[in-house]
Every structure is written in C-alpha cells, then in structure tokens.
C-alpha cells in the first residue's frame, strides 16, 4: 500500500513538472502563434522576397549580350555555359529550380497563415497578401520562361511547371501549360483585387511588388499568351503620364543606392551582387559586351551601361551597370528587376503585333529621344520595326538576363561569338532542345510524377 502511495506521489510530481515543458524558445517561433501580427507577416514576406534567385549573370551569358574575352577560358564553368554545354545548363538548372520553389514555399507559408492573423486594420495585411501573390506569380512566370514550352495551340496540354500551394511534402506532377498560365493570371488578378480592396499600396516600397508592377507583369503575360490588345491596353495604360521618368539622372540613379524614378520593382540586396563576371579588377572580365549592344556617344546611358578598360592591349567595352559598381566598389542595394522601360517595350511589342504600328513607333521614338538616341527610321516595315524594338530592348537591358527570354519567346537563334566577338562561331537554333531547361535531378529523382523535358538525359538507377 505504502508503495502505491509513493508511486502516486511520484506521479503527481511528474505531472506537475510536465506543465513546465511548454518552453518557449527565445529565438524560435513555432506555430500556432508564429505569424501572429502584421509585422511578422511583413517580415516573412521580406524573407520570401530576399530569397528571390539572382541569376542575371548566368542568363545573360546564355543570351547574346556578351562575347568571350581571353580570360573566359579561366572559368570553364562560364565558358561551358556560354557554349550551351548540356552539363553547364543542367548545373544551372539544378540551382535555379529549387531556389524559385523555395521562394514559393515561403510565400505559401505566409499565405496559409494570413487568415489566422487577427487584425483590426486589414488594409496593410491585404497589401502583404497581394504582394505575396504577386511574388508567387513572378516565380511561376520566371520558371515558365525556362522550363515550359512556348505558348501555342499544340503546347497547351504539354507539361509546364509544378504548381505548389501547400507547405508540405507533396509529389506533384507538372501542370499543363494552360493551367500554369491561368494560375499566374489568377494570382495577379487576386493581387490586383487585394490592392484595390486596400485602397492602394500601403507597403509602398520599391522592393515589394506593388499594384503597378502587378499590371506590368500581367501585360507581359498577356503578350506572351497572344492577347496583344490586352497587353497593349495594360502597358499603355500604365505608361500614361509616365514619359517624364526617362531622364539621365533617373537612369544614373538606377545604378546607385539612391531612389530612381525608373524603378518599378527592385528587390533589396544586402550582399554582393554581379561579381561573377569579373576575373579580377586589374585583368578584366571573362565576358564583355558584344557588338549587339553598342551605344552612340550621345546616348545618355553610355556612362553606366558600359565601362571601358584595356585588356590584352585592346580597349574593350565591359558590361557596366552592376559590374561597373563592383569595379567602383559601390555597394549595390537594389536589383532593378522590373523597370518602367520594360513596360514600354512590352507595350511597343504588343501594339506592333496588334497592328497599331504608328502608336508603337511613337512610343518607342519618345523613349529613344529621352535616352538621347536617334529616332527609328520611317522606312522600316513591321518586321524590321519589331527587330528594332527587340534590339533597342537588348541595349536597354543588356546583362540583366532578360534577353534569353526574348530570344526564346520570339523564336530567334542565339549567336555564339568568338573571342572578342569578332565573328559568330555557332548559332543555337530556335528549335534547339536546350531552350527548354532540363528538370533537375533533385526533382525527377525523387518525384515519379514528373517527366523530363524532351531530349535531356535522365539518370536511371533501377
């Protein structure tokens, strides 16, 4: 009997002590009340934005903005990427895919938790949710650009990307292209609706996607899926009254820590950026600007879009912008991801394809004049005009990683230059299988529901 009393006492003591097991850790916040305020929601949103992958250098190397220098051979990884070697692209793909999905997972973590935040003033919370949806749409869109086939009647049902809505282990198949595009469109629409409900952008920071950036993305999406009129409407709508932004100070400010009126969406960066192009400050870069990216002396962008230095006894035009900032030891705080000039080019292209040539020409010339560049010749036909638009776009965005998508989207071949860009050694044809990046091993080896893109090798082990 005595024994039972003792055991009872022990039991009582133990149960008493077990209540002290609800230990809150100082620096870790677990559910259910981890994300319990607007501020936390915003901090989680910031983490998602901060995780946005940065592959501007690599994607530019795949495009035709650059040509190799005598140093290119010192970096076999980059040289192989420039040569579109299967393995180099596979390696790049294996980094890009998980990083975008990591951002998506943080957005999903936030979106799942927003409904449970008790807040009286919902406007800021709506903006956070809107900005999160927009970020997810951006990630999906960027993934689509690399991994999904082009929009066409015959590709509608083909594998696009994986659409991921839950923060949990899932083995999902790639969704059909049309579903992917719809998902992006829906996310952007939801973001717009939420911003509207909130009565505007309460976050109001250039490093979050705001209502204008959402419309810009939407315009780009509509252009991609052939809704030219809609793309033109959205693009020109956004640009109304914005012509004023194209000024030299605003352009120069893009490549600084200061505010610039030309930015539409520029993620904030705390670390170094765009340091990979440089071999070392004395010797120069692995790649420099190709002749496709040439500026006239009057061009307002000249100061910042390129940098000149002596390499191997010749004066070369290096990539400017972030690369120049790196040489100048300037801290980089903003990565100019969406710019107003991008909206302009989307609108121009959409107008042209919609048959509104005059309006397109007018828009482009207005922009060129502001940049200090001569107007487009009146003699160009629609095809040539389109070529001119894309060429001007390449100059405007050289080295920022957008060219690859334009080449792919417009089914253009990617020329590979020889040393110093003296000639074209080979061309990646528009029907080459490598335009569709391979699904990385980290996905298909652990997910039987996923199929590899055509012609890419698959590691088989069974």
């Amino acid at each position: 009997m005595k024994r039972f009393i003792h055991i009872n006492i022990l039991l009582f003591v133990a149960l008493g002590l077990s209540s002290c097991l609800d230990i809150k850790l100082d620096d870790q916040y677990s559910d259910p009340d981890a994300v319990n305020s607007t501020q936390r929601a915003r901090e989680l949103l910031s983490a998602a934005y901060n995780s946005l992958p940065r592959y501007q250098v690599e994607l530019s190397i795949l495009g035709d903005d650059f040509c190799p220098t005598s140093l290119a051979g010192r970096n076999s990884e980059m040289q192989n990427l420039y040569d579109w070697k299967e393995k180099a692209i596979d390696d790049l793909s294996s980094r890009i895919w998980p990083e975008y999905y990591y951002t998506v997972s943080l957005v999903n973590a936030l979106l799942q938790r927003i409904p449970s935040i008790a807040e009286e003033d919902l406007t800021t919370l709506h903006c956070i949710e809107a900005s999160a949806c927009a970020l997810k749409a951006l990630c999906y869109f960027e993934l689509m650009k690399l991994y999904a086939p082009l929009w066409s009647e015959s590709n509608m049902e083909k594998d696009g990307i994986i659409l991921k809505d839950q923060l949990e282990l899932e083995f999902l198949p790639r969704s059909p292209l049309k579903d992917c595009v719809k998902a992006i469109s829906d996310l952007l629409d939801k973001a717009s609706a939420l911003f509207e409900e909130a009565g505007g952008d309460k976050l109001d920071r250039v490093y979050y996607l705001g209502p204008d950036a959402v419309v810009a993305l939407k315009a780009e999406l509509e252009l991609y899926r052939g809704n030219y009129a809609e793309a033109a409407r959205l693009g020109t709508g956004l640009l109304l009254g914005r012509e004023i932004v194209w000024s030299k100070p605003a352009y120069d400010a893009l490549w600084s820590e200061n505010d610039s009126a030309e930015r539409l969406f520029s993620p904030y960066i705390f670390n170094t950026f765009y340091t990979d192009l440089c071999y070392d400050w004395n010797s120069g870069d692995y790649f420099v600007l190709s002749d496709r990216v040439a500026f006239t002396p009057e061009d307002h962008r000249l100061d910042w879009a390129q940098r000149t230095m002596e390499m191997d006894g010749r004066t070369v035009r290096q990539m400017g912008k972030y690369n120049k900032m790196y040489y100048d030891k300037q801290d980089i705080r903003y990565i100019n991801t969406l710019r107003w000039s991008g909206v302009l080019f989307t609108a121009c292209e959409a107008l042209l394809l919609d048959g509104k040539t005059a309006r397109a020409r007018e828009l482009l010339n207005g922009f060129l004049a502001a940049r200090g560049v001569a107007e487009i010749s009146e003699d160009l036909d629609d095809g040539e005009l389109m070529e001119a638009v894309l060429s001007e776009k390449q100059k405007e965005f050289a080295g920022e990683g957008t060219r690859l998508w334009d080449l792919k989207r417009r089914s253009l071949a990617a020329g590979r230059f020889t040393l110093w860009g003296q000639s074209i050694s080979s061309t990646i044809k528009s029907d080459d299988y490598r335009w569709l990046f391979p699904i990385p091993k980290s996905e298909y080896r652990y997910n039987e529901a996923v199929h590899q893109n055509p012609d890419w090798p698959v590691v088989s082990v069974e």
């Binding site: 003792h6 559910d31 899932e170």
Partner: protein, 1016 residues
Amino acid sequence: MHSYLKIAGVLLCLLLCSFGLYAQGGANVVVAGKVVDEDGEPLSGASVYLRGKPEKGTATDVNGYFFLEFKNGRGIYIEASFVGMKTGSVEFTGQKEVEIVLKYDSAFIETAVVKAHQNINDLDIRAKAGVVNEVDVKRMLDKPVVDLSLSLQGASPGLVVTSRGDLGSKPEIRIRGNSSFRKGDVANEPLYVLDGQVISSDAFMTLNPQDIADIKILKDAAACALYGTKAANGVIEITSMRGTEGETLVTYNANVGVTFRGRRGVQMMDTDEKLELERRLKNESAPGYRYSEDYYRRYFSSSPDLEKMIAEGKAKLDELRKTNTDWFKVLLRNDIYQKHNLSVRGGNQKTSYYASVNYSYQGGQIPGNDVNRFSGRVSLDQAIGTKGYVSASFSGGYSKANSPNSSSYSPSSLIYQLNPYESPESGELWSYPNRSYKDLVYQYQRTSTEKRFGGTLSLNLEPLEGLSVAGVAGLDYVLSESLDLTPATSYEEQHSGAAENEKGRLSKSKNGNANVTTNVRVNYNKVIGKHDITVGANTDFYMDDMDLMSITGYGVGNQMSAAAINQAIEGNRKLSTSNMHERTAQVGIGVLGGYCYDETYDLFGTYKADASSILPKDKRWNAAWAVGAGWNLKSYFKDWDAVSALRLKASYGRTASLAGISPSLAQATFTYLNDSYGDSRLFELMSLYNNSLKPEQTVSTEVGMSLGFIDRINLEVGWYDRRTEDALLDVPIPSSNGFATLKRNIGVLSNMGVEASLNVNILNMNDLHLNLKGTVAYNYNKVIDLYDGDRLYTSEDAIIPDFEVGKSYDMLYGPVSLGLDPMVGLPVFKGADGSEIPATGKLTREDMVALGHSVPPWSGTINLSFTWKSLEFDADFYYVLGGIKAYAYSYVRYYDDANRNAVKGQVENMWFQKGDEGKIYHTPWFSSSAIENMTSWPNSKSIGSSDYLRLSMLSLRYRFSKRELAWTKGIIKYANVAIQGSNLFTITRYRESDPESGSFIGAQQPVLTFNLSLSF
C-alpha cells in the same frame, strides 16, 4: 555502490575482529602485498591488518597495494577486509610479499550500513540481468593522454572511441555502433552521467582521470532503461573519487614527458626524384621542367643562345638540388607532456572527504597546437545518524586548446605540398606561386577554452529496514568559448582588397550549456525465505539550456581580441552577431521490480515514461522499458570445482529516442535572420517540418554468459541485436517542395554483434604474477527495412544507394579496376558482364561491387599485466579489423599540380607513355575531374585495409618498499615511479595517412612520460 560497500565492510570487520591477539616478540618486518578480488582486480581502500589488531592496520592504495610493518613471530595472519566481501587472510611465514584474494559476500547487504552513493540509478539489481561493464580505471590512468575520452579507447568491448582530428578535438564515441541512419554525435552519442548528474560530452572531455573512481559502460536495455529515453545509445556512468575512512593521505602524482611527431603518413619525394617527375610531367610552372633541357629544346630550338640557356638552366637546377628539406620534420615537432595531480583524502566513520587539483599540458605535433587543462574537485560525505548519508561534490575545470588549423589553413597539409627543394627561407615558392613560406604559416589562430563547473548534492536514507529513499540534484555548466583570428598579415587578408583599417578577421563565440538533473528514487527490498523482492519507483527531471552567442568582425589587425574590431565598418565587413538559445526539459517517471529466488534466478523489469519539451503536446510522452533475467548455474556444478562460476543472462527492452530532434522539425518554426530586407527584418522558416514525425524506437535484445574456470580463467560472452525502428533521416524530397530534405521516419536498421572478453591468470606465484586479458567486439549493421521502397539515394547524383534493404549501411561500393590500360594510361573497369569498361565509359549500378566496410566491424584489446616483486609491467594493445578506407591520392601529382610535392616512387609507378605496364598512377595528362568514373567512387585499387594494431599503453612501474622509504622517516608512505607511454606505435597496411582518422593530421601522437607518485 562500491563506496557503500566499503564502509559497511570496514565496520563489519571491526566488529568481527574485536577480539584480542596475543603479543608477539621478534624483530620488525615489512611485508608488501596486494589485495585483489576473485577476478584478480585490485581492491583500493581495503583494510589490511594483523588478525586481531585492526586498529594498527593500513589501507591499500589505488592499485590495491599495501605495506604492513609488524613484529615478527609465529602464527601471524594478515587479514584484509573490504565492503561487500568476505574477510580474507594469509598466514605470514616470512615471505616478502603476499597477495590476499577476497571473495564476494552475498549476505552483506542485510548488515551493511547506508553509505554515500551519489548516482542513485546505479543499482546492483540491474547488473544481474543487464550488461554493465566496468572500465579498468587503473589501466586508464597508466595511459598518458590528456583527453579522458581518448584514454577510454579499448576500455570495454563494444565501446569504440575514434580520434578524428588534431589534439583537443572531440573524438567519436559510440557504444555498439551508430543506432541511427543519421551520422554524427547528436544522434548516436551515449549519455554521460557523473555521480548521478547528466553532463555534456564536452564536460566529460575535461574531467580529470585521477578523480575518477570507476566508470561503467551500460550497453543493453536492461542496464540503460532507468535513464529512460535519453539512454537509447547507451550510458557512460562515472563515479568520482570519494573520501575514505582512515588517516589523511596526501598524494602527489606527476607525469613529465615528450610527445612525438608520430607516424609519417606518406613518404614524400626528395629533390632529385621531384625534379625528375617535373621534367616528365612537362608543366612549365615547375622548375624541373622549366629549366630542363627538354624545355629549351622544345621552345627555343632555333635560338642561337640555346646551349647557353641549357647551361643556365642546369645551373639553376643544380642550385635547387642543394636543398633537400624534409617538411615532415620542419613542420611537425616533438613537444612536452606534463601532468600534475595533488589529492587529499581521509575521514572517519561519520565524515569523509576528498579534494584534488590537477594541471595537465599536452603539446601537439603542429607548432601552435596544444591543450592545457586545470581542474579541481571537492567531495564530502556526512552520515546522518545511522539512517543515512548526505553527500556533496563540486568540481570545476578550465581547459584551453590552441590550434593553427582551420579548413582552409592547415599547416599539416603543407607537409605533403611543399617541395623538397624549397625551404622556409626560400622566398617565392614554386608550390605556391606569389607566396613565400611566411604567407603559408601563421595564417590563422584559434583558441578554444572550456570553463566547467558542476555540483551534485545527494541524500540517501534508510528510514526503515529495506526501504531506501534517495535523491540527487545537480547542475553542470560548461562555458565554451572560441576565438578565431585571421590576422591582417595573412595572405588572404592582404589580398582581400579591403582597406587597411578593415583587415584582420575575428570571430568570437560563447556557448553556455547548463545541465540540470534531479532524481528521486524510492526502493524497497524484502527477503522472505529464499525470495528476495525489490520494488522501486523514481521521478526525474532534466533540463538542458544552451545559449550560443557569436560575433564576427573585421579590422582587428593582428590582435586576437574582440575589442579590436572596427565597428565603424559598413558593408560586407560589417560587425555581425548571432545568437541561439535553446532550452529543453524532460520529466520522467519510472517503476522497477526485481525478484531473486535462492540466489539462482533473477528477474528484473523497469518501465519509464518521459515527457519532453521538444515535441508538441500530443506527442510528448514516450516510454522506455526493459525486462531481464539472470540464471546462476554454479549450483549445478557444486561438485565440480573446475567451474568456479557460470551465469546466463538475457534482456529485452524498448526505448524511444529523441536524440537530434528539435522543435522546428515537427512544427512550423521561424527565426529571424541577421540580414535585413530594406527596412524590414527577415523572418524565415527554419526547415520544412514533418507533422507526422515520431521518435526513433530502439529495441534491444541481449543474451550473455559468464564462465569462471578453475579460478584462473574468466570468460564473458554476449550477443546483442539492437534494432532502431522508425529510424530518422534527412531524406531528399522533390525540390519543388522548396526544401532539399525533410527529416522523416524512413525505416528499420539493426546493429548486431558479439562481444567477448577472456581473462587468464597465467601465473600466480608469490613474487610473480602474469595476467592476460583479451577482448573482441564484432558489430554488423544492416538495413532491415525502408518504408519507401528498397533503396534510398541521399544524393541526387548517386547511382549507388546509400541505404539498401538487406545491406550494411557502411559499405563502400565501387567498380573493380583491372588496372591501367597500357595504351592510354587510364584505368579500365570490369563490367558486370565481364566486359572491360574504359575510364571514359559509363558505369552502371550493376558494375559496382561491395568493396568493404567503411566502419571496421572488429575491434578489441589485448592487455598484459606482469608483476615481479616490486616491478609492474603493463601493456595494452588496441586493434581494429575488417574495415577499408579509400585513398585520397591527394599526394599524387598530375600535370595540373606538378608544382607540388609528390609521393615517393611516383616516377616509377606512373604511366607516362604508351606501353607502360603495371603502373599504379594513371596518365598525368588527363584531368581526373573530367572523368567521373575516377572521382565519383572508390574502386578496388584505390582502397586499402584500415586494419591496425596499436600499442596504446605501456607502463613499467617500480614500487618502493617501506624499507626503501625508511629514510623519509615515515613522511612518505608510498612511492612509486614509472615509465609510461601511449600510442607508441601503430602497425597497419594502410599506405596513406592515419588508418584511424583517415586524415594526415589525425593520428594520435605518441607520448612517453616519466611518472612519479608519492603519498604522504
């Protein structure tokens, strides 16, 4: 329990021996002797006296030795008594030395008095059915090694201690292999308990071996279950030294000696061979080719100055030939070893005490690598009437380790890179272009210190006969600090491009780790006729609080101080701080029951439920239970004296394990990052969480036998199977989930093995004793089940599964190499169908064969003890068998790295041209990294057996007799001197580096010391 027995025994013998003895005439004689138990193990603190004159006796020292002085006469018996043992005696017939063997007294428990006993989980009852191995502390003390954990190597079969780096780094300690698929200490480390108080492995490292009375290794479920879910990987129980009844004894013990460079991992080239190799590799970045005739003839064949150039080149080479540096000797050093220990112990029947201070120093092989340790300890035991005891012990320690090694700056790797024609005075080096020797050393400095404080308070009461109530409460705190400096003068900082006032990187971290233990236990024991019943219950509470703070800053110059950090720096070199604070607690409640019939049959069962703060509320409670049985068969051999003991035991138990689980794995957990995003902080998800995460379950089965034969031979054999169900692992998941891995319960693994020890008392004469002991442990691990299919690949590139059902999980796989193709100089592999696959071909899963175990399955020791008069000789060998290690071949040079030194004999063993046959190293003009088959897997020709035999301890001791110490006029009671060595040599077939750690620097260094021990 031991100390408990001792006091009781002393009291017992006082009672038994309180009758008078007639006086003796004659001259004074001094007899030296030793008191041992039935196994020949020395008994320390045993009382020795003449029969009838216990008050004029003495006590044995740590090693069981004593000197007794008395008047010679007839009919003199020397008696010895020890708690828990029957008093033994020897008739004195004029011999110089005597040995008294004491037998265990099974009846003592009823008469014994409660004695201070701090580890209240250390119950005798569990040893009757479970596996509790005692470490031979005396042998451990004979080994001059600063780290307690390294001195445990070979101490018990199945306890595997593996050194893994330079001096001062924590070795890997495993009891019966890895119980988890997860590698690393967190999931596989045993539980450390000092006097009933849970301590961290870092605290264990810093304990002073001289303060340790005994160490027990708890291996199976029956032995470990009292510790609940913390003990899934076994327990190491340490009992500290305590005071003894008797006069005060002050002991000074010193070891002074040298530490050696150790075994040369690989013999490197001398200047002549190196220059010849360079010439043949044809890389102009190496002087052997750059100044060779070949070079000039190739590039300047039409030059009119050709002959002059050749002559100049030859002169250059001749100049280089004058230098022949052995970098092994330049970069490694012999250093000193010293250890000083001063202890005081004594007491009376009511109170006893022990106090000690210790200082030790061991210098490492690399200049700048050493370990300093200072520790102190006090313990007190006080009787409370006749019903109980209260005990307290406090200990503290300070330990400091210096290292010039980090992952990117390792002076020891330079031994295998610098050329023999280069010297510290060489100016710019060929092996490191643009750098001089100075730019390679003094590149980094790390100092880590550990400050430890621990205190334990316990109470043992026996309010009623058979009922004992005991409680222990303790705190152990370790503050680990580290300071890392990359000085401004280092090459990296000089070439970082940073401004002068921003150079010099310093990291400082402080990690406070507190362990709190409380444990209350009630036991009741009743003997009714032949039935002996024990029941008990306990409740315990453990708390672990870890607080890690670190800062990293720049601009310190060469100053190793956080105060020197330049806080004005912005940008990438800005001062950064981080903090991690984690507190976890566990509450447990347990019951136990034991039954013994006629001292022949034993049954034991225990159940413990533990709740941990780590898991969410609904999964908080987990159980550990075990049952065991013992059967003493000696009674069946009553009439056959040859069998002196025979005992069988078996146990089965199940324990949940929370090792390596943190809250963020089971539920969504966020934390703040140091960086910011604009004006916002970053609140990030720590990992993808697994809602259905369960603790691992360890199920262990054990069968054992112990056999004593003609009182001379003792054999212990045990078989075990420890199965881990719901084993956890970070498994790769589709990357579209946003994370690369997720901790999941993925399968079942098992560790199965046999452990045996054989002790043979070969010679047992008056002056001569020879004892031989051998142990062997075999461990075989296997994947029993994987929940998602038959194979698991943890790397996306792997074609060989890391885990496969039915296979051992430490198996190395790779293709069979058929040697080099004499035509191209690249290896040819054997395909599964017998075909030959060239190095550039594609190997498939089928082509891979099991090459061998990466963890050696066999390990054991051979211990030899030999005493002759006052001379004692002990030697311990440690061996490891059955494992393989892949060669890194990092010392073989090809075209690209021709400018660094290479392994001796490479010129002869390398393929240089078509037709070269029977070569080991492939063609130098092929980048091995370009050929996946050569770098992704080891092959049958790139592995070596990691078997080794090491002389881990050698001790030769001389004990001065009383007569020899007579000149001290009784001031010195005992004295002995010894020459002791540790890790003096290693025999192995492994050609490269150290077969134990697999690294060039990890070899345990040989230490040779002189030891002096004096007791006053």
